[in-house]
Symmetry: none
Subunit: 257 residues, 2 copies
Amino acid sequence: MFADERKARIAQHVLVHKRATVSELAQMFQASESTIRRDLQELEEQGVLHRTHGGAVAKEVAAFEPTWSEKRIQNQDAKTRIAALALELVRPGQVLLLDAGTTTYEIARQWRHEGVTVVTNSLDIASELSSRRELDLVMLGGQFRAKTGAFVGPFAERMLGELHVDIAFLGANGVDFRGITTPNPQEAAVKRAMVTSADRVVVVADRTKLHQTAFVRVATWDEIDMWVSDGPLPDGEWRQWQAETEVEFICDNEHGG
Amino acid sequence: MFADERKARIAQHVLVHKRATVSELAQMFQASESTIRRDLQELEEQGVLHRTHGGAVAKEVAAFEPTWSEKRIQNQDAKTRIAALALELVRPGQVLLLDAGTTTYEIARQWRHEGVTVVTNSLDIASELSSRRELDLVMLGGQFRAKTGAFVGPFAERMLGELHVDIAFLGANGVDFRGITTPNPQEAAVKRAMVTSADRVVVVADRTKLHQTAFVRVATWDEIDMWVSDGPLPDGEWRQWQAETEVEFICDNEHGG
DNA sequence: TCGCAATCAATCATTTTCGAGCATATTTGA
DNA sequence: TCAAATATGCTCGAAAATGATTGATTGCGA
């Protein structure tokens, strides 16, 4: 039996029976479990089926979850590392600002520092930090945006105008060689107010955001002090980056310096 | 059965039956309660369902269905009935204000009105209402008080000063013949600002609060329009109440009128 | 407010499964 | 035929899943 033939029949079997174990398939096709695993891996990459611990199931079986959480999980590793790096910037006694976003949420989840004040406009981040007795939490009021879980609008912006923070951690949907962008104008306005209120502006975004440009520009690089990311940029990008900006770039191995 | 299959079926079961207990699910899927708990935790993180003490409920059920846990009903009967009564005051298009407190939280839990705007300074209420697509949510910013989960301080008060709401629902730690009181000065200040911003002020408090006087006075009866409670006052109290105030008293049987 | 019972989170040990690396076998193309 | 590429099988340490245990929480009634 040819490899491709076997893969096709595995796919068909899983589609028909909705599930199959590795050992079952190994016996069925007289192949080793290693081979079956490799086949399943390939089929999963093709989006044909869904692997599980012990075998595989048809895609529809596992399809109860909303798509956004899957995406969140895919990038979770990068966000986790970015958050860990960002947290190293924090010093006792500082006032920090956490933008609404999945990466900044990860910062909140990993929060360990005591004796600091955290300002946020994110409901999820506030919930996450509300149980930490050792920090002061300040909420930016405003209208709720269900899509991102953020509070936005003039109240949030005006409140930011009366605050001053040491570091603002900003997420971004798009990062390009001019600055950072985000899809929603209201959120962009709040983010801009955050930039204005902060001594240091730190962008937290993984590398996949590079070269993506969303609808509204939030800030240009001359307003930003640092970009924390999950790994080094490709050499070409890196040289261009160094040439065009003076922003510090931090990632979790040597290259970014 | 694979883990992912089990999780999918748990999710489906909860969606169909609206609620399920951990032991029930453990028996159903021949797994330990530890495993079920882990599954529920994961499903909750994915936003598929709500965990509760003892099991889980479908998300939309946790929102307004008060019967998801028989035990809980009996115990929180007072708050539940007060909340149900308070909700009958709400009309479409209104702007409502929900104070931070356990009774007002119960109002949020039972919320079923569409096309209204809800303003709150409570993190828990905001979290509870954040999943309701059909209403506008406005948060009052400020400093977080861990003890009550409320945001307080000058920002919240100033923001209230710029808002106008149709009805303010206020909780109270103490209700006496002069008005309502609460232990914390900062929260009292916010509550006073709420009173000022509202067309109608409705106090939600069970009868056990009567004759209790906490540290700081929030409002006197001439500033309050209505008291929603869980049952009639004893006859003596009732006569004194009628004699001394002009506030409407509402409870869930005839007596209070 | 207190205590009791139920439930939970955190942790550990065990079992199963996986993945990376390596060696072997098979195919391909010159 | 030989060499390179590909496919396969095997091994072993790592990771995942599970169930049991334990101390902490929570809900609830007195």
